[in-house]
């Protein structure tokens, strides 16, 4: 047979491509459940880091340490729950959908150690970046963070996920009260002291993108934070509410 004729070449390439596509499709279908389970486990691992929970078996540690996992809307009202038994979490595609959605369902993971973890997701320089931020009981002070990215530049933008010092810089920072909730920029360009961290040199765009993402997502959660944060003042208020009836007794004693 003449293997150099046009007809042969065209037919040969079509058959080859169809076979290769079939093999790949089969492999993708066959391996998808295992891969999804890995991605989910990885997501839970990131949530646990933000909650400062450690454990050898990630899923078991999650089930053991989580208090509740709920979904809230933009007004901070609870609109649903995530199944803890099945380790249900919102992955990156779920988070991406919430950004544009009119009726948002934003996940909140509340742990037994008092830390509340919320996610964020946005566009970096080359692809998506995301993160998990663990808050103290006041829902203002950051305890720990874990960031991830799809394909930021290794050695520059990728440092948001790789470098421990970058994540450590977030500990103790708070969400701002004014226009700017959070920013990642060099100190000279930052508006306020405590609601921002230093950007990474050489990774300006990734740093700015991360700041914008955090600012946007903290905005989504703002109402939830104000309603549910337990600060010294709210504790005093609660005590006064509870002991309100006792006050006259105290007065009469005087």
């Amino acid at each position: 047979m003449n293997t150099n004729s046009n007809t042969y070449t065209v037919i040969y390439s079509i058959i080859l491509v169809v076979i290769v596509a079939a093999v790949l499709a089969f492999a993708a279908m066959f391996l998808k459940p295992t891969q999804d389970a890995n991605v989910k486990k990885d997501t839970i691992g990131q949530i646990l880091t933000a909650a400062t929970v450690t454990g050898d078996d990630i899923l078991a540690a999650y089930q053991q340490e989580i208090e509740s996992a709920i979904l809230v809307d933009i007004n901070g009202e609870e609109v649903g729950t995530l199944n803890i038994e099945e380790c249900e979490v919102y992955g990156n595609s779920d988070l991406k959908r919430q950004i544009a959605a009119e009726q948002k369902a934003l996940p909140v993971y509340i742990f037994k150690n008092g830390i509340t973890v919320v996610p964020c997701y946005g566009a970096g320089l080359w692809g998506p970046i995301w993160g998990y931020v663990g808050f103290d009981k006041d829902l203002k002070t950051i305890k720990a963070v874990r960031f991830g990215h799809k394909g930021e530049t290794p050695g520059l933008g990728a440092k948001i996920a790789d470098e421990p010092w970058f994540a450590e810089a977030f500990t103790g920072k708070t969400v701002g009260e004014g226009e700017i909730l959070f920013e990642v920029a060099k100190p000279a360009n930052r508006q306020t002291e405590n609601n921002g961290v230093d950007a990474i040199s050489g990774a300006t765009i990734t740093s700015q993108a991360l700041g914008k993402t955090l600012d946007q997502w903290f905005g989504f959660y703002k109402n939830y934070f104000t309603k549910n944060g337990i600060t010294a003042e709210t504790v005093i208020d609660a005590v006064i509410d509870m002991t309100g009836e006792l006050e006259p007794v105290v007065e009469s004693a005087n």
Binding site: Y8, T9, Y12, L16, V17, V20, V23, L31, N38, D42
Partner: protein, 205 residues
């Protein structure tokens, strides 16, 4: 049989793809910070070179000459994607550290080079052996480089601490340069130097 044995053994030392042919340098610089990554990368390349050489050799009499390179590329791409998918399913953490480099095996000159130079003109079994041998030669250099880089750069081997804590307490420090790509190039240079001083026929007059 001698032919097949030679096809497998030559690329491991005498015709090593990295240290003699100086192919596949880029990935060997990138993935040799830790032994585990280097090991998995070496294994992946071995599987890809072996299987794609085998498939291309099986097809060698049917491939239309004008789209020869494209057909080779499709076969190599198939193998690379399969390896990538399997790693994602069964070795997720390693697949995350190796990230794009598994996908980039497709651009590794060793794979295409061996198909073009050997598999298209030889029987399937000999081609499989040639591919495996070349992959093994590549893997070997990767593991040697990674051994030194991980040992002196992080004080660990396969993630286990081997340099005792007492050394660190006494003032010993990990060499930060070892973790950076330039050191891989220097180590690679040393390996090529050693091989050339053993194998005199490689030296230019």
């Amino acid at each position: 049989m001698g032919n097949i044995k030679e096809a497998f053994l030559t690329p491991i030392f005498k015709g090593n793809p990295i240290s003699v042919l100086v192919l596949g340098i880029c990935s060997s610089l990138a993935v040799t910070v830790q032994l585990k990554g280097a090991f998995v990368m070496g294994l992946s390349v071995m599987i890809v070179t072996g299987l794609s050489s085998l498939v291309c050799s099986l097809l060698r009499n049917t491939i239309p000459n004008r789209i020869r390179i494209i057909v080779q590329l499709v076969v190599v791409a198939l193998m690379v994607i399969l390896v990538d998918q399997v790693l994602k399913a069964y070795a997720y953490s390693v697949s995350k550290t190796l990230s794009v480099y598994i996908g980039l095996i497709i651009t590794n000159c060793i794979v295409m080079g061996r198909i073009e130079a050997y598999a298209l003109g030889n029987k399937p079994f000999a081609s499989l052996m040639d591919g495996l041998g070349n992959g093994l030669g590549y893997a070997m250099i990767l593991v040697i480089v990674a051994f030194f880089r991980e040992l002196f750069g992080s004080g660990t081997l396969f993630g286990f601490q081997v340099i005792p804590q007492a050394f660190f307490d006494a003032g010993y420090m990990n060499n930060g340069l070892m973790i950076l790509p330039p050191m891989a190039l220097i180590l690679l240079g040393c390996i090529i130097w050693i091989q050339r001083s053993i194998q005199k026929d490689l030296q230019e007059k």
